[in-house]
Structure formats: C-alpha cells, structure tokens
Assembly symmetry: C2
Homo-oligomer: 368 residues x 2
C-alpha cells in the first residue's frame, strides 16, 4: 500500500492530509493519523447515504485507534441540510452525547457534511477539534482542505461560517467508486479549475486521461487528489483567511453561486454551476482582454468539461437575473464585484470595476 502524506504548514494550526486507497483497515499504522485521534472521545457527523456505506468501517477504524466513540449523527443528504437548523440539531446531539472541549468531531462525507460539521466543531464550546474524511471528489480535492467551514442562508450559500482548520484530513480514493456518477463529474469541475488557475501541465494530464478518469482509475485519481490537495495547500498557506491570494480559488464561483441560488440549489450540482460559471468567466476574459490564447483556453476548457459530461451553457434566467443574484454574494465588497479571470491556462488575475454591460454580455453568451 502506498500512502502519501502532505503537510499544510500553518503554525500551530498545521495538519496532515493523508491520501491512500482502500486503507480503512490500516489507519492505526499511519504515523500521522494515530496521534490526532488516540485516547480522544469522538463523535461522527455524516449524511444518510454515507452512513450506509462507510460508517461501520470508520467506527471500526476509530475503535482500532483507541478512540472512545460517543456516537454519530446522520442528516439528510444534500445542500438543503447545510443550514442553521441542522447545526442546531447537531449541537443538541453533541451535548447529549457528552462531547466536551477535548472531544474531536469526525466529518465523514462530502462538502455539505464537511462544511456543516466543521462549522459545528468551530462553534461548539467556542471551538473543538475536527477531522475531515471526505467521501466525494469535490470534498477530496477542494472543500476538506483549507478550514473554510460554513452553512447557507436562504439569501445565499456559505453566508455564515468560520475559518477553522481541521486537525487531519484522511482521503481514501477507493470511496469514489461508490459515488454517483453525477457527483463524481461535479468534482471534476473543481479539478479542471485547478488546472486552469494554476497548472497547465496538470490541465494537459486531465485532457490525456479522460477515459481513465471516467472509469475511476485509482492510479489516475491518486495523482489527481495529490496534485489538487498540494495546489490547494499552497494557496491556503499563502492566505489562510481569504484576504487576497485565496480568491483565485473562486474562479467560476461568483457566476456559479448565482446559478445555484437561482435554481434553489436543486437544479444544478455545484460542479455543473461552476463549469458554466467558468465558461462565463473565460468569455468575460476574452471580451475584456482579447487574444487568441484566451480563445484557445475557452475551447480547451469547454471541450474538457463536455468530455466529462459537464454543461457549458444554460437555458434559464436572463443575464439581469443572474447579475442581481451575484450582487448578494459575499465576495462582493461595497457593491463592486471582484472577478477571477484567466489570462492563459495556468494563470488567472483578479479584476474589478468591470462595466455591467460587459458582464451581462458574457453571461448572455452562455445562455441558450
């Protein structure tokens, strides 16, 4: 078994991302897992889908590690659970189970579980430790690393939250085999994002491995998860609290969040929304900066998304409606929207003060 361990260096908030495949039964032999969990009281938070598939195995792992298992709570799967009312239920379960300030939360699931459980951990008794065990691709390559926890309000996604780094992230790529294909594809949108914003070689690797990726080839996914986590860790280390450099990770997200919001978080997956959003951002870059390199980027990005079965266009709502929904996003400072726009594959810039007409034009180009 080959297990890869990657450090996220953040002073006293540093932690390891452990990446392997099919190694649930071997956690107790991994040097970076043992010290975080042994002799702790622990509570697992998951959703009902993941509960059925992996809760028993994880409970066994934790017991093998000498953890005192205080209980678990599984909420309904899906973005709707990422709410204050779920968090309230979690708090009550955590109190009843007897979690104290030294206990540790295990977040077992996709992005919704990780964000919600992370927020509950960040605020329970003014903050207790938590571990991420991401089971969706989007969580493995993106949301489980970096300490952004949060929940949604009716007015928008992730409007409430806290920065709170996990103590450990454990990624088993084998679990991707039980992921519904639409969920896997959703994660691929974030994977493509890393290529566009930071790494052309990685982007080409994705282009060259489309069929292996769709077949969930474990070797290819070990490479993908390691590369994405490594890129994400570098960005997070440079800007833990999202005050500058981290903004590039929002490529496609300002548009994408607006689309998710307009479809009430049910019409599109997060990945579908940001694939379309990255299309809009790339088009906006072409309109603003021009040049054949950017035109080529749009083509390669669209082609790769389509090869993965991701949408690049949309047929609901007007540019005006989408623009209005974007204005409520939390990345909007004092009414001015900051856009992450590509210059070429592997490099993006932050651009603001773009006139509304151009933004609407870029949105319009992606509406069928």
């Amino acid at each position: 078994m080959s297990i890869y361990s990657l450090n996220v260096p953040l002073d006293d908030r540093s932690y390891e991302i452990v990446i392997g495949k099919d190694f649930f039964s071997q956690w107790q032999d991994v040097p970076s897992i043992q010290p975080v969990l042994e002799n702790r009281t622990c509570f697992v938070i998951t959703d009902e889908n993941v509960q059925k598939l992996y809760l028993k195995s994880v409970e066994q792992c934790l017991t093998n590690l000498g953890v005192r298992y205080l209980g678990d709570y599984a909420f309904l799967p899906g973005e709707k659970s990422k709410s204050l009312s779920t968090v309230k239920s979690l708090y009550e379960k955590m109190i009843s189970a007897g979690l104290d300030r030294k206990s540790i939360i295990v977040a077992l699931g996709g992005g919704v579980v990780g964000d919600t459980a992370g927020f509950a951990a960040a605020t329970y008794m003014r903050g207790i430790d938590y571990v991420q065990i991401p089971t969706s691709l989007v969580a493995q390559v993106d949301s489980s690393v970096g300490g952004k926890t949060g929940i949604d309000l009716d007015q928008g996604k992730n409007l409430i939250g806290a920065f709170c780094q996990p103590k450990l992230v454990v990624v088993d790529t084998m679990v991707l085999q039980t992921l519904p294909i639409r969920e896997l594809v959703c994660g691929l949108a974030e994977v493509v994002k890393y290529g566009v914003i930071l790494d052309e070689v990685f982007f080409s690797f994705l282009e060259d491995n489309v069929s292996s990726i769709l077949n969930i080839d474990q070797t290819v996914f070990q490479t993908i998860v390691r590369k994405c986590c490594s890129l994400k860790a570098d960005v997070v280390t440079g800007d833990e609290l999202d005050q500058g450099g981290r903004a590039i990770l929002n490529y496609g997200h300002t548009f994408g969040h607006a689309l998710e919001k307009l479809t009430s978080y049910t019409g599109l997956t997060h990945g579908e929304a940001i694939a379309i959003g990255m299309g809009m951002a790339a088009d906006l870059a072409v309109m603003r900066y021009g040049g054949s390199e950017l035109l080529n980027l749009v083509k390669r990005q669209d082609d790769l998304f389509q090869a993965f079965g991701l949408p690049v266009k949309f047929n609901k709502f007007s540019p005006e409606e989408i623009l209005l929904a974007m204005a409520a996003d939390k990345k909007c400072i004092d009414g001015n929207i900051n856009f992450v726009l590509p210059e070429k594959i592997g490099k993006v810039v932050i651009d603001s003060g773009i006139e509304e007409d151009l933004i609407k034009q870029a949105i319009g180009a992606r509406i069928d």
Copy 2:
C-alpha cells in the same frame, strides 16, 4: 476630559480599550477610535432598553466619524435573547442592510448584546470586524474585553460561541447612571471577583468605597473600570484561547452557571448567581485547605457582597440538583470538574478531582 487608553496586545488581533466619561460627542477626537471606524459601513446591534437611551447619540458619534450607517437592530433585553434564533434574525437583517466582509458591527449594550453581536460578527461571512460599546457594568469590566463571544442553548449558557477579539472597546462610565440598580450590583459581583482572584489592594479599595460605589461616583468608577480592564487584559493576553491561565476568571462561575440554569436564567441575575457561587467556592477552599486566612477571606467576601446588596446564600434546589447541573457545563472535561479556589485574597488555584461529597457539602452550606 480625561480619556484613558489601554492596549490589549495580541499580535494582529491587538486592540485598544478607551475609557472615559460623558465623551460621546468627542469620539472623533480620540486617536484610537478614528482609524477603526472611519470610512467603514457599519451596523449597530443593541437591545430595546439601550436603544431608547443611547442609540441616537451613538449614531451621531458614528456619523461624525465618517461612518456609513447601514442600520441597526434592537432585540428584546435579557438572557433569553442570547439564542440561535436571535442570531438568525441578526444574519437576515445584516444581509438585508447590505453588510459585506469589510463592514463593521457596533455592539451597543450589556453582556447579552456584546456576546450575541460578537458571535454574529464572528460568523457572518466567516467573520467581520466588530466594536464593543458596553453599557452595563458587567460588560464594562468583564465581558466586552477578551473576545469570548457566544450564545446559550437550552442545555446551558455559552455552549456555542467563538473566540473573536473586537477591534476596539469604548467604555463611557457615565452610562452606569441609567443602569437599573440590580444590574449595577450584578456587575459588582464581577468587580469583587477581580479583587479576590488577582489583587488584594483593589479588594481593599472596594471595601473602603462602598458608599461611593453605590452612589455611582464617577471618579471611583473610572478607577474600577480601568483596574478591571487592565487585569482582564493581562489574563487574556496570557491565554487568549482559554487553555489554561484564563480559567481563573471563572471563579464562582461553575457553581453560578448551574444556579442560573436551574432558575431558567430568570430567578437570579448573573451577578447574584456568581456571588453565591464565589461563596460556595470559598467554602470549598476552606473545607479542602483549611486555615484562618481562608476563613477571613470568606468573611470579607461575604461582607462586601452584602454591603453591595448581593446574596451569599440561596434557598432553592438541593446540592444534588446543583451538582448535576454543573456536570453539563463546558468547563467540565471528561466528567471531571475543574474548580477555581482561593488560597487568599488576590490568589487562586485550579483544583480538580475533588470528591463529590465535599462539593455537596460546600454547596449545602450556602443553602438556607
């Protein structure tokens, strides 16, 4: 006008506590206030009592400082408002008012307002800045300094929260003149606490100034607030995240929180509960360590509380009920309760592993 400014040095989270009297109209001339607020968009959180008394003046101050005033929200006064449902309303008002990540919250009120508004600020868009303008004595000498924000659950006080330092604390002791006497006396319990845990000279100062204190003499209160804030700032600087030294501030609170919980946060004020709780803790110290110095401490502490009109005994609930309520407190780690016990006036220790019988005896001695 004499304005005193005290720095709380916490690296990039450092801030000033500005203490003066009747200086609302002069904020714009205070060098440590101006830079925190000027050119910010701002939202004031208060309660309905304080709203009537001071909101207009504060709005004027803020406008004089060049703040863009986005609105305010006043909730019902009292501990019952320190809830998730208040926080939810706050989030919704803050979104509607257009607060973004660069906006600043002004918490204008007592401990409930400060804790709740602080928690809303700590979690809105993963954390925005806030300023404390404490208007109760307990908030001026204790809760507004140190960055502990939080809300209650039905299961106990402050079970949910975050560490999030304010950017500035502005204390005007003149507002104590409009405080209901029971609220003022409530704050005096915390004031006495500082003397017992850290400063015998200050304790004697309080003994020597009982009547001036009850007459709300401004000169005496300038001394009291400066001394308490200075002691609190030292403790917080040494242990920002409550992992050790800060525990001494909980003297009397483990017992006191249990009493507040059992009376549903309505029978006793916080100050009344911790006065009785400090009595229980002092009795427990006598039983555990013995000695005439501790007996003398119990007498002086009781006498001072009674001079202020604070209770030192209680006539409801059995020691068993109180002990059970204490076990749910968040300071209880792995079932073991840590007690802050005095050795002499000005010095306390943390003690744990105390047998239940002795604890019940100490509680029983304070039940009429």
